[in-house]
């Protein structure tokens, strides 16, 4: 009986609203950032340069999945999942292949001249522009819908209110969890995974102890490319497929990487979630949560109608502030330990 009393005293409406708007939304966008950041941080740690084309690689992966979906829209019905999710493994494989191709054609020749790291960054800007140009040339600039049919919406009742979550969001969370576990097993159990970690720690030492550099680099790009494709596709499934996300994705991803420390896949996952949750908390209207407290408040304290930290238009400021704060106080990431 006491339980019911407690429940009725709790502001359930506001709580459910908070879960819907912050917990789920933050988890979703955080998972996307994590998927992007893991691949980019691995490549950054092993190849010692920031591949700025990573944001567009995500868009590219999503467009490959989009093309596959349009080619066989009925495929999903057989399995009972959205088509875009069913074709995801193919899209991941194709994107991984494209990533290796990009490395072979554009990065390897520059890398051979033993340049300053910044030269490779400029090359990655070139690749970024090429990807952007190609994507917009073939698909135009308008956003597209990834879903063939209507999205399935799940409602979980909680004391008279519903927690709302859609099918792509569930798929995204499940996929991210599975991908992280798989990556963890790969990095800690397999030979190649250990070689990757060794090379990220100290490239020269890894090379003289007989680790095949070319193989490790290839595997790194495969992981980076396929996770980027997955992140891009799942994001496009959740909202819509936009060809011009580039910097809007890249900035939070880099912020996530720097929060976690460059070359640290686990740090990147945590960083991605931190950046995602901070973004949603910053644009959340806190006045709604404070409203139930109103009867208990003194009269002189007026509650404003809108109490957000950052207006939605300035959302891109949030990852930047995180980035700057981390660079000032902990340039090596928030976790202790050696980083690049």
């Amino acid at each position: 009986m006491e339980n019911i009393g407690l429940l009725s005293a709790l502001p359930i409406n506001e709580l459910v609203f908070f879960i819907n708007k912050v917990v789920i939304a933050g988890l979703i966008i955080g998972s996307i950032y994590a998927l992007g950041a893991v691949g980019m941080t691995l490549a950054w740690g092993i190849l010692r340069f920031a591949n700025f084309a990573h944001g567009d690689l995500m868009t590219l992966g999503a467009f490959i999945a989009f093309m596959l979906t349009m080619a066989m829209p009925g495929l999903g019905a057989y399995v009972g999942l959205p088509t875009a999710f069913v074709v995801l493994p193919i899209a991941m494989a194709v994107t991984a292949f494209v990533t290796i191709f990009i490395d072979r054609t554009f990065y390897v020749p520059v890398r051979k001249t033993n340049p300053k790291p910044i030269t490779l960054v400029i090359a990655s800007f070139g690749v970024m522009l090429m990807l952007q140009g190609l994507i917009r040339l073939f698909f135009g600039t308008a956003p597209r819908q990834m879903y063939v049919g209507p999205k399935e919406i799940y409602r979980i009742p909680l004391a008279g209110r519903d927690i709302v979550i859609t099918e792509p969001q569930v798929l995204l969370i499940v996929f991210t969890a599975v991908a992280i576990v798989a990556l963890h097993l790969f990095l800690t159990r397999s030979r190649t995974g250990k070689a990757m970690r060794a090379m990220s720690d100290n490239a020269d030492l890894a090379r003289i102890s007989g680790i095949g550099t070319a193989h490790v680099v290839r595997v790194t790009w495969i992981i980076a490319g396929s996770l980027a494709a997955a992140g891009g596709t799942l994001l496009a499934m959740d909202v819509s497929l936009k060809p011009d996300l580039s910097f809007n994705l890249l900035l939070p991803i880099v912020a996530a990487i720097i929060v976690g420390g460059i070359g640290q896949p686990y740090g990147a996952i945590v960083g991605g979630l931190i950046v995602g949750f901070t973004e949603t908390l910053a644009v959340f209207n806190w006045a709604i949560l404070l409203r139930p407290l109103k009867p208990h408040m003194p009269d002189w304290l007026e509650l404003p109608a809108s109490l957000t930290f950052v207006p939605t238009e300035y959302k891109i400021v949030v990852p930047f502030v995180i980035l700057v704060a981390v660079l000032i106080w902990r340039p090596n990431g928030i976790f202790r330990g050696r980083v690049l």
């Binding site: 700025f52 790291p117 070139g126 690749v127 522009l129 140009g133 917009r136 900035l251 930047f320 700057v324």
Partner: protein, 423 residues
């Protein structure tokens, strides 16, 4: 060696003059003059970037943001006064916000230093963060009504009606101040951090200018921006643009001469030493980070002046019109292709790239409409409706490809840096 270099420079410039002359004949005086004036402004921006990339090895990926903030500064100074705004109660409200920011900022700074008086660092950090957040929230709350009144009554706050030349200077100062903050944070860390920080600040500046309607009219845009010379409606296109072009030319010459003197001086030698071997420079007692910050700020001042001149020439301040491709990567190509570390190369690169860029617009459209017609005739594929906008996206691809090709095959550019040898 020196002779071949000079011959190369001379022949490249003669070739460029020939191309420009052809465009004068083909497209008419007014069009070609517009192109040249814009190229001139971009040449100033390129000189600024050359200070950063060519002489200091700092990669600025956010030129767009610095151009935008400089254009805003110039607009604020030189745009005619808006009497409705000054007569309303809004200036008082803005002043109140300024006081709030000032007091809050002072309190925050003071709190951030109390650890010197025995307060534990954790508590200091906590208090500082709380003070900063409170200041921010109070400033935001003070701004909202003021912004509402301004937008309702007078549109935006207008300018100060001061001379345009002063506006460009202020624009340059705005860009330089922003650069100082970015540089303070990221210089001395990994070189890629500067790239991501500048990239981020550029997007933030754009978002700010686009959404702060009370300050910039946002997407409604501000026009016409006052010119330092008589405008086209007063004296006609050709005369007005010629006058503007001569102003930019004079600016280019002044900046070029100053930079050349700088490079020839011991200061320039020190800068090259830092760029070529940071460790060695540090070992002989140079304060590397401080010097790099100096270069970054000076470079951005020049970028700001050029950017303000560029936007003033366009006559319209449109925050959505700032595009990374037009205002960041085009300039990057100019410097890298022209020859980083060579001021003459940057000017040449700016003119050449901008001529190609301008001409590529009609060229891409012609190419694509022909290609689409051919596809329709042979395969029966109907071209998409937005073919024109898509065709222009092809230029983004070409810019990217050019960056890669130059890095791979001509990393020193068309006019390489002259290596000065001291015997």
């Amino acid at each position: 060696m020196k002779a071949t270099m000079e011959l190369r420079t001379a022949s490249l410039f003669v070739f460029l003059a020939g191309v420009v002359a052809l465009i004068f004949i083909w497209q008419g005086n007014a069009y070609a003059l517009r192109m040249l004036a814009e190229a001139g402004c971009l040449a100033i921006v390129a000189l600024g970037l050359n200070v950063q990339w060519g002489y200091a090895g700092l990669f600025n990926a956010g030129i767009m943001g610095f151009i935008a903030i400089a254009a805003f500064g110039s607009m604020l100074v030189s745009y005619p006064v808006n009497p409705v705004f000054w007569q309303s109660e809004a200036p008082g409200l803005l002043l109140r916000m300024g006081v709030v920011v000032l007091i809050g900022g002072a309190v925050t700074v003071l709190l951030s230093r109390i650890h010197r008086y025995g307060v534990p660092r954790r508590i200091r950090t906590l208090l500082t963060v709380i003070a900063a957040l409170a200041t921010y929230m109070m400033a935001q709350n003070a701004l909202t009504p003021a912004a509402g009144i301004i937008e309702q009554n007078s549109g935006f706050i207008g300018g100060f009606g001061l001379p345009v030349g002063l506006g460009w200077l202020v624009g340059g100062v705005f860009a330089a101040v922003l650069a100082w903050f970015i540089g303070r944070i990221t210089l001395g860390l990994r070189s890629d951090y500067l790239a991501i920080a500048t990239l981020g600040i550029a997007e933030i500046v754009k978002a700010f200018l686009k959404n702060a309607d009370w300050l910039t009219r946002g997407t409604l845009t501000v026009s016409p921006l006052p010119w330092p010379v008589p405008t086209a409606s007063e004296v006609g296109f050709v005369a007005a643009r010629s006058a503007y072009l001569s102003i930019t030319a004079v600016l280019i010459v002044i900046i070029y001469l100053l930079l050349q003197r700088g490079w020839a001086s011991p200061w320039g030698r020190m800068m090259r030493a830092i760029r070529d071997n940071e460790l060695a420079a540090e070992a002989v007692g140079k304060n590397v980070n401080r010097r790099l910050l100096e270069m970054f700020v000076i470079g951005n001042f020049i970028v700001g002046v050029g950017g303000a001149a560029l936007i003033t020439f366009g006559g319209i301040f449109d925050p959505s019109g700032f595009l990374p491709i037009n205002h960041t990567f085009l300039v990057l190509i100019m410097v890298v292709l022209g020859g980083s570390g060579n001021n003459l190369g940057s000017i040449f690169g700016a003119l050449l790239v901008y001529v190609i860029w301008t001409m590529s617009e009609p060229a891409a459209l012609i190419l694509f409409s022909h290609g689409a017609g051919w596809l329709r005739d042979v395969f029966g594929i109907a071209p998409p409706d937005d073919l024109a906008t898509r065709a222009l996206q092809m230029r983004v691809f070409v810019i990217g490809l050019t960056i890669i090709l130059v890095l791979r095959f001509a990393p020193k550019g068309l006019l390489p840096e002259k290596i000065v040898k001291y015997e």
